[in-house]
C-alpha cells in the first residue's frame, strides 16, 4: 500500500495562528492544511518570518506569546480530536504523542540539570515507570540515538557536550515516549555540515523504525532533498506549493518555489547556473499585499494576482490532486506540456 493511501496520523484543516496588532488580529499562519502519515518525513520550507515555526508550535497547541491564538476547522491525531482539547489535555499529548525538537541545541537544554535528569523528567511525566524502569528507558533511548557510554552521558551537564551530542540528547528526549508525530524546528541549522548529515539520517532512521511522522521545518532545500518524502513551501503564512520532494524540486510550478531553488547553491557538475536571489524580502504580517502575497516580488504577477488570493490546486491533471498542488494563478509550465496556463 502506498503511503498516500494510508490514513494520516495527523490531519489538520485550515490552521490559523493570529497575533494582536494595532490593525486588529493578524494571521501569521493563514489557513494551512496538512496531513502526516506514519514514518513519513514532511519538509516545511520557507524564508525566515513566513510562519514555519508558528505552524510547528501550533501542532503542539502552543500559541506564540500570551496573546497569540491558534484555531483550526479540524485537527485530528489518529482517533483523537485535538481541536476539542483543553490545556490539561494538551499537556498530556505534548512530549508523549506529539513532541518537538528545537533549533538551538545550546539553549534548548536546561543548563543547571544533567542530561539524565532532563531525560527522566520527560519519561516520568508521561510513563507510569518506577525509577529503575525510567533509567533503563532513558539509557536505551540514548543508545538508540547513537551514544555508546549512556551512563556517562546521563551524568553530563549540557555544556559538557558538543552541539551534535546535545541535539542527539534533545532528539532522545523527544522520542523517548514514542510519539506519533515529531515536529523538528530547524534541528540542524546550528550544527556544522557533517553533524547535520548525521542528525538528519538519525531523524530519518528513527522515523522509519518507530513509525513516527516527522514535520521537518527548515529554510534549506538541500535538507528537504536529502531526507524528506514530501515538501510544503510556505510563504507569508500560506502554503504556496506542496508535493513529493522530487516532483517539487524537479518541476516547481510556483514562481516562489522556483525562486528558492534558483537561490540554492549547487555544486553538482551538470548544473552551473549562477545563484539568483529573490528580489525584495518577506513582507511583515501587517504589510502583505492583497491577493497573492508573493505578487509584489513576482515577475509573473498581474492584476488577477493582486486582487484574488490563489487557492491550492492540482498541478498536473494527470496525477491525483493530493500529490502535487500549487497556489498560483500563473504557474510555471510543466515540462511534460500537460500544464494549464
Amino acid at each position: 500500500m502506498s503511503p498516500a493511501l494510508e490514513d494520516p496520523v495527523l490531519a489538520v484543516q485550515d490552521l490559523r495562528v493570529t497575533l494582536p496588532s494595532r490593525q486588529g488580529r493578524l494571521a501569521v499562519v493563514d489557513g494551512v492544511s496538512l496531513e502526516l502519515r506514519a514514518g513519513e518525513i514532511l519538509g516545511l520550507v520557507g524564508e525566515s518570518g513566513c510562519g514555519k515555526s508558528m505552524t510547528g508550535a501550533a501542532l503542539l497547541g502552543m500559541a506564540p506569546g500570551a496573546s497569540g491564538q491558534v484555531s483550526s476547522t479540524s485537527m485530528r491525531l489518529g482517533d483523537l480530536d485535538l481541536a476539542q482539547l483543553d490545556e490539561r489535555g494538551w499537556r498530556r499529548i505534548r512530549g508523549s504523542r506529539i513532541s518537538m525538537v528545537f533549533q538551538e541545541p545550546l539553549t534548548a537544554l536546561d543548563p543547571v540539570f544533567s542530561v539524565g535528569n532532563q531525560l527522566l523528567e520527560v519519561i516520568r511525566r508521561h510513563q507510569p515507570f518506577n525509577r529503575r524502569q525510567a533509567r533503563t528507558a532513558a539509557a536505551d533511548m540514548l543508545a538508540s540515538v547513537g551514544f555508546a557510554d549512556c551512563d556517562r552521558i546521563m551524568r553530563c551537564y549540557p555544556h559538557e557536550l558538543s552541539g551534535g551530542m546535545r541535539q542527539r540528547v534533545l532528539l532522545a528526549m523527544a522520542m523517548v515516549c514514542h510519539p506519533q508525530v515529531l515536529v523538528a524546528d530547524e534541528p540542524t541549522t546550528a550544527l556544522d555540515v557533517t553533524t547535520q548529515a548525521q542528525i538528519l539520517h538519525l531523524v530519518r532512521d528513527l522515523a522509519r523504525q518507530s513509525g513516527t511522522a516527522v514535520l521537518l521545518i527548515t529554510h534549506d532545500l538541500a535538507i528537504v532533498e536529502a531526507v524528506c518524502d514530501r515538501a510544503m513551501v510556505m510563504y507569508c503564512g500560506r502554503i504556496s506549493e506542496e508535493g513529493p520532494t522530487h516532483a517539487l524540486m524537479q518541476f516547481p510550478r510556483h514562481p516562489y518555489t522556483a525562486g528558492l531553488l534558483a537561490a540554492m547553491p549547487r555544486l553538482s557538475p551538470g548544473r552551473v547556473e549562477p545563484v539568483k536571489d529573490i528580489p525584495g524580502s518577506v513582507p511583515a504580517p501587517g504589510q502583505r499585499p492583497a491577493g497573492c502575497s508573493f505578487s509584489n516580488r513576482c515577475e509573473r504577477a498581474d492584476g488577477l494576482c493582486r486582487s484574488q488570493v490563489p487557492v491550492l490546486h492540482c498541478a498536473d491533471p494527470a496525477m491525483p490532486a493530493a500529490v502535487h498542488r500549487h497556489a498560483c494563478h500563473h504557474p510555471l509550465a510543466h515540462p511534460s506540456g500537460s500544464a494549464t496556463a
Binding site: 512530549g95 528545537f102 539553549t107 543547571v112 555544556h159
Partner: protein, 284 residues
C-alpha cells in the same frame, strides 16, 4: 570531551580555590562559636559584671572589661551568635520573599501581578535605605523582631528586581519552551527550570543581604532601634563611642575585628561557591 568525568566537579573546583577555602574556614569557625553560644557552652556571662571598669587584657578577662566592668571577650563571643541569627534570618527571609515576588512578577510580566510587585518595590526603593529601615524599626518598636522586619522590608526589593529581570530573560529561552513542549504545566516550569537558573543570583544576593544585615544592625543598634535582649557588635560599638574618647579601645576592637573577619570570610566563601556551583562557568 574525551575522558571527562562529570562527578566531583564541584568538589574539585572548591578545593582548588584557596581564598575560598580560607573563607569557608573563617565562616566555619564563627559558625562553631555561634553554635556553642546557642548551646550554652560559651559566652554565657556576657551581662555579668565580673571586674572593675576598663580592666586591661588579662588571663581572667582576655579582652579586658568595659565601662561597667563586664567581660569584653564574653560579650564579643555572644555577639557572634546574634550576628548569625540576624544575618541568616534576614538573608533567608528576604531571599525567599524576593525570589517568590520576583519570579511571579517576571513570569507574569505586563499583567496586574507584575504591576503590583513593581509598584511596591519602586515605592520601597524610593525611600532612603537607612531612613526607611530606621522608620520601620521605630514603627515596630514594640515587637522583638522590629529590626529584622525592617531589614527584610528593605532588602527583599533588590532580590525581587534581579530575579524578575532574570526570569523575564529566561522565560523566552528555548529550554523553557522545551519544558512546556514536554507537557509541563507553567507553574512546574517556573519552579523546576526557571527558578533553579536564578540560583546564582539568589546565592549572591543572600550573601550580600547577610553582610548588609550585620552592618545595618550596627547602625540600628547605635540608634537604639537594634538588639534589645542581648548584646551585639553594634551595641558594643555604640558603647565604645564613649570609651574611645578616653582612649579605651578594647571594646571597639573586640567588636570591629570579628565583624571584619566574618564579613571577609563570608564574601570569600560565596565567591568560591558561585564559581563552583554555576555549571555555565565550567565550559571550556
Amino acid at each position: 570531551m574525551p575522558g571527562f568525568e562529570p562527578t566531583n566537579r564541584v568538589w574539585q573546583k572548591l578545593r582548588a580555590n584557596r581564598a575560598g577555602l580560607a573563607g569557608f574556614m573563617l565562616v566555619g569557625l564563627f559558625g562553631l562559636i555561634a553554635l556553642s553560644v546557642a548551646l550554652g557552652w560559651a559566652g554565657q556571662e556576657w551581662s555579668l559584671v565580673s571586674g572593675e571598669r576598663w580592666e586591661s587584657a588579662s588571663s581572667e578577662h582576655w579582652f579586658g572589661t568595659n565601662q561597667l566592668g563586664q567581660d569584653i571577650f564574653q560579650r564579643a563571643i555572644y555577639s557572634v551568635r546574634i550576628a548569625f541569627e540576624i544575618g541568616l534570618l534576614v538573608a533567608l527571609t528576604s531571599t525567599l520573599l524576593g525570589s517568590v515576588c520576583g519570579a511571579i512578577s517576571g513570569w507574569f510580566a505586563d499583567t496586574w501581578a507584575d504591576d503590583g510587585v513593581v509598584f511596591i518595590t519602586g515605592v520601597l526603593d524610593s525611600i532612603p535605605f537607612y531612613l526607611f529601615a530606621a522608620a520601620v524599626a521605630f514603627a515596630f518598636q514594640a515587637s522583638a523582631w522590629a529590626m529584622q522586619i525592617a531589614m527584610v522590608a528593605t532588602f527583599w526589593t533588590t532580590t525581587s528586581r534581579m530575579v524578575r529581570a532574570e526570569v523575564m530573560r529566561l522565560r523566552n529561552r528555548d529550554f523553557v519552551q522545551a519544558a512546556l513542549a514536554i507537557g509541563l504545566p507553567p507553574h512546574l516550569v517556573l519552579l523546576r527550570h526557571v527558578l533553579p537558573n536564578t540560583g546564582h543570583i539568589l546565592l549572591a544576593q543572600a550573601a550580600m543581604v547577610f553582610v548588609a544585615a550585620i552592618k545595618t544592625e550596627v547602625i540600628l543598634s547605635f540608634l537604639g532601634l537594634g538588639v534589645k535582649d542581648g548584646v551585639s557588635w553594634g551595641l558594643m560599638l555604640a558603647e565604645s563611642t564613649q570609651e574611645v574618647l578616653v582612649s579605651q579601645f578594647n571594646n571597639h576592637l573586640a567588636a570591629a575585628i570579628p565583624l571584619l573577619l566574618l564579613l571577609l570570610g563570608f564574601n570569600l566563601m560565596i565567591d568560591a561557591l558561585q564559581d563552583a556551583l554555576d555549571p555555565r562557568q565550567g565550559s571550556a
